[in-house]
């Protein structure tokens, strides 16, 4: 018993060391910009940089749009597959897992080939087209996470009864989805959404290859040209990731309480 506990502590402590040191190092480095001691100079420079503000704002906006698009695609699909097309389930699940199997760089390479200026749908030719392509690309990347969390959410509620109840009260499909199903899987949707946000906000490969100046390429550019600012950026990115995961935890816990109360 005690031997087991000893080994467990050892595993956790060694793991903790490996996982905490880079965080400490990153934070430490970000504070060392001025020679005479620790300061937040690197953060000041980064946060007041117009480039930072512009690219970061762009990425946040794009992440939010990705979430909306993801919900619009995934929620009706997961719902109808569960309710009306159980036979499609394996196919849909397979498709949603594909982005985990096909490397993202391959997917974006495909985009560049299909939607280039000499194709039928020359999305990469215009500013709007490129942004739309990036948006759909990110929705593709987030598909596995979005679908899985929504589908788990749907599993916990009895969608068949809910749907019949709503229908018997005269609701149509769009209304059922919007005011009956969505609120009930809201927490699951949110955890998918935060995960999407965390993935999209610092994404590099898609943006760089589509020549979009978002937060990811900005970070890489800073990494190549500055010494201390990249660490400050990494800290910012880490805090965003933490916030997203923390919010997921918070909402899941909140939903557990609400289920108990019901």
């Amino acid at each position: 018993m005690t031997g087991k506990r000893l080994w467990s502590w050892l595993a956790v402590v060694l793991g903790g060391l490996y996982f905490l040191l880079p965080l400490v190092g990153m934070f430490d480095f970000s504070l060392r910009m001025q020679r005479d001691g620790y300061s937040f100079e690197a953060y000041r420079i980064v946060l007041t940089d117009a480039q930072f503000q512009q690219t970061f704002g762009y990425s946040v906006g794009l992440a939010l749009l990705t979430i909306v698009l993801g919900i619009l695609i995934v929620v009706p699909t997961a719902y109808f597959v569960r309710l009306r097309f159980p036979g499609l389930r394996p196919i849909v699940e397979f498709i949603t897992l594909l982005p985990l199997v096909i490397p993202p760089i391959v997917i974006v390479f495909g985009y560049i080939r299909i939607y280039n200026t000499s194709s039928i749908l020359p999305l990469t030719g215009s500013w709007w087209g490129t942004n739309i392509l990036l948006l759909f690309g990110y929705a593709t990347l987030s598909l596995p996470y979005m679908y899985r969390s929504v589908d788990t959410g749907l599993r916990t509620i009895d969608i068949a009864s809910l749907t019949e109840a709503a229908q018997s009260l005269g609701a149509g499909w769009s209304r059922i989805l919007a005011i009956v199903i969505l609120p009930n899987v809201f927490v699951s949707v949110l955890s998918g959404a935060f995960l999407t946000f965390a993935i999209v906000i610092g994404e590099y490969v898609f943006a760089a290859l589509l020549n979009v100046n978002s937060f990811g390429p900005y970070m890489v550019w800073m990494g190549g040209n500055r010494a201390y600012e990249p660490s400050a950026l990494a800290v910012v990115a880490f805090i965003i990731t933490w916030a997203c995961m923390g919010l997921i935890q918070l909402f899941t816990r909140f939903s557990k309480f609400s289920t108990v109360r019901r």
Partner: protein, 294 residues
């Protein structure tokens, strides 16, 4: 009205047609932004610039530099997948079976959720700040222990450095996936084995590991694909000094190096094939390992 609707094939009933509208956007989306792009690459890999079928592109994969790039990529992905599985398994076992405080278990799971998503550019920065020439740990080792890390040949911009960095998201991913599987091991199995005279080792060999085997394999395949497709971390960490397959492809697409789109197709195709093989092996082994559930 109801009779005429009922006599139609199920798929064509007005109701069912409406239902198809519910899933149609998904299939349209998946076709346009996932399947067609991938197919385009696959087909392109077997065509030359004039659109004729050829195996020439694939042949170019066997040029020494490309072959080396793939080889490093495979080694890197395999190594970090195996080590990630191993260490992740130990940590997950410690928090599920190791009598640790409940609070610690939850904290580690939450942290794993963060760390597994803390990939890409910021992660590379964190490792440079830690193990780079002026990194935190590098300086710590020199000042406190007199160890000169870089003097001993270590470099964060290297295979080893990249592997160390990749483990930062590989291990937590393993922890997240395998913890529920470990929690699924029923206490009674262990106790039944013990009461039948089995040692702890025999229990793990004959019951626990066979039960966990499918999940372990699945995670291994997933971690392999995860590392194989990771480009941003590698680029931010090494620039393009370490030629792994995705970086070569990145350079190809950018047109930085030889601008030969068909070589790009071939590289991309090979990447798909490798991750597909990894997952295929996984599915095959899983079916064999799970005879006892289906």
């Amino acid at each position: 009205m109801t009779t005429s609707a009922a006599s139609l094939p199920a798929v064509l009933r007005p109701r069912q047609v409406l239902n198809w509208f519910g899933v149609a956007p998904f299939f349209l989306f998946a076709t346009l932004f996932l399947i067609l792009p991938t197919l385009n690459i696959v087909i392109g890999a077997f065509r030359n610039a004039e659109g004729q079928a050829t195996l020439e592109n694939l042949g170019k994969l066997f040029s020494p530099s490309i072959r080396a790039a793939f080889w490093i990529s495979i080694e890197l992905s395999l190594l970090t997948a195996v080590l990630g599985c191993l260490f992740g398994f130990f940590i997950a076992a410690a928090i599920t079976l190791g009598d640790l405080p409940r609070l610690l278990r939850n904290a580690i799971l939450t942290f794993s959720g963060v760390a597994s998503n803390f990939a890409g550019v910021p992660l590379a920065f964190a490792f440079i700040a830690t193990l780079g020439r002026l990194g935190f740990v590098t300086l710590l080792l020199r000042h406190w222990f007199g160890i000169n890390l870089y003097g001993s040949g270590f470099n964060i911009v290297s295979f080893l450095g990249l592997a160390l960095t990749y483990l930062y998201f590989q291990i937590p991913l393993m922890v997240l996936i395998i913890t529920p599987a470990l929690e699924g091991l029923r206490r009674e199995w262990r106790e039944a084995a013990e009461s039948l005279g089995a040692s702890g080792f025999q229990y793990w060999r004959m019951v626990a590991l066979p039960v966990l085997w499918p999940s372990l394999l699945g995670t291994l395949a997933l971690l392999f694909a995860n590392a194989f497709g990771a480009v941003a971390t590698a680029i931010a960490l090494t620039g393009s000094s370490l030629s792994i397959a995705p970086i070569v492809l990145f350079a190809q697409i950018r047109g930085d190096v030889l601008n030969d789109p068909h070589l790009g197709y071939a590289i991309a195709f090979a990447m798909i094939v490798l991750t597909a093989i990894a997952n295929g092996i996984y599915i095959l082994l899983r079916m064999r390992a799970e005879r006892w559930v289906k």
